[in-house]
Symmetry: D3
Subunit: 132 residues, 6 copies
């Protein structure tokens, strides 16, 4: 299995509902340094998993839809925007970009995707799943 990973980041505000979140129930924020790992069994004719320029742009575009926002007011996000939930949201949106052809036609051969959100030097969360 071959992999390619690109990194970008967002800076957002939000609050979380539920006693389990303690002080994070108040409005606060986070920098998420986001890694998107693309995986496939074989390389394309150029010897790559994905056009890294398109992958970087696609991740950046997905993150631009979340960046510099109070996520509590984002109508596209329902329920708690935990790091796990945001990892899934970003996964789904990058997957949609792949299906829409924005990472190139050959990106249809990407088999799985792993999105990791590093929220501090001591904590991260992620979501990974198959794309086909």
């Amino acid at each position: 299995m071959y992999t390619v990973t690109v990194r970008d980041h967002i800076m957002i505000a939000h609050s979380l509902r539920g006693e389990v979140f303690g002080p994070a129930q108040k409005l606060h924020g986070a920098t998420y340094v986001v890694d998107a790992e693309f995986r496939r069994a074989d390389l394309d004719v150029n010897g790559i998993v994905v056009d890294i320029g398109l992958a970087t742009t696609a991740l950046h575009d997905v993150l631009a839809g979340l960046n510099y926002r109070n996520l509590d007011e984002d109508p596209s996000l329902a329920g708690n925007t935990t790091t796990e939930v945001l990892a899934r949201v970003i996964f789904d949106r990058v997957a949609a970009a792949i299906r829409a052809g924005r990472l190139g036609a050959d990106a249809a051969n990407i088999e799985s995707l792993r999105v990791t959100l590093n929220e501090s030097h001591v904590a991260s969360a992620g979501y990974e799943g198959r794309l086909k």
Copy 2:
């Protein structure tokens, strides 16, 4: 698959028996920066893999049982305390904490756990396994 990872560290002394260990047969020591990655297929009702506060406390408690010690004198540890063996010891103790309910009742849904011990900027070891 969703993941959450928390990080903590220990500083221990030990020696290793066997010619393969060369100078590490002498009493020396290590800082292990420890990552515990919790994995499950679905999130709980709060949108989380695990209560990160409880996970952090559980990891810290497990590490407190090893920290600031000469592991050669720890009766709970048999044989060589290699980085691999310590990863397994920490895995087993965190798994026991989960089974004992110390990470919350819903942590019973955690499917697998990966423990990584970073021992320097050029070496690490780990153990991962299923919890159910």
Copy 3:
């Protein structure tokens, strides 16, 4: 010159006023991974710059006053809470903790302090100054 550095972090929301801030004028947030470096010419009788336990606690206490908050609503903070300004606020509060003896009597010999706030994998800001 001897140095000791300890690290902790905060997760805050805020907005910034001024066209220069572009999209950061909207309410958003950040994780700041904070390094506090303590500096002095000579070590104390124990061979240390500062009691690292007290230094860690003092930094944590200072950060607790900012953590999990919307800094726009913090009456102790006037004007823009840029990363630079927050570095200075944390510097001043850690310096006050030193003067109040909370890092031990010998910490009066600390000559200077450098506070760095890492806000992402590509940006940081800091403030450093003399303490005596």
Copy 4:
């Protein structure tokens, strides 16, 4: 599953053929910080995945065959030397070293290997596969 990872690096020049590579079609270069992760289900009698000294030497020897070179002129490399392709080349050569016994007789029990090439603070690529 137990894992051990060792790190080393190479500094090479190369160019890539194909419009997808944009400016990287010109002769340029890269530092690759290379992680080799060795995986097996059970530890050997010493409590290790692999003799870390031999593993480090084997990785270093494999990398020495690529280091400080213009890869465009390396007759052992056909086609584009993308990060993905180089990850596979290093994987194959480390695997060959294992089969040749250069990581010790017990290394025959290593089940899989993951090679990751970190090419900057924002991009990496890798190859992983079974060894038996």
Copy 5:
């Protein structure tokens, strides 16, 4: 003293003349992860050291003049392009951008600049100097 640091990177090929460079006398290459630290005693009216957007763009523009090239063929570079020399080249070009007003009028108050080139996980070089 306040500081702001931004990070970017380049990927170049080059060779070095002189026996001291050993195998690096051959054509090879490097990724340089570049940190530019801007320093000044007081903040501007917005509470910043420099417009971080302009600083990031200025660093990127300076690096674009070096990126994806064989530096041996760059007529603007005389002599060995060691990491130290490149740090100075980038320092001079960022300093020129400041003087030309490309980081904003208030950037004239930046007192000093430190440029660090991280060339691997085990080596870096830099140049720092006053700007006025």
Copy 6:
């Protein structure tokens, strides 16, 4: 001012005397990831601060004198081997290597040296001083 930094590490056991050290009074250990930063105003005729090969070897040789040891039994070390004290010991030994010509004749022009010991992901200590 130009700088070059090289990195290596040691793994040692020790104990610390004094109530201030709490549980670290017991025999324990540490990995120290050691950075040595060499500084001088002008480059030599090759365009370098120091022969990085000789600097790496000199640091490695100094660290070999401490590595894989119980520092409590090292007759060359008096008093507490705190991270600060060890930074000074390594500083003095690297400085002696420079004076002995082991980093090359031109290394006599190195003006200052900074040694940093990273002991975990949350703590480090260092010593810096002039060499002439």
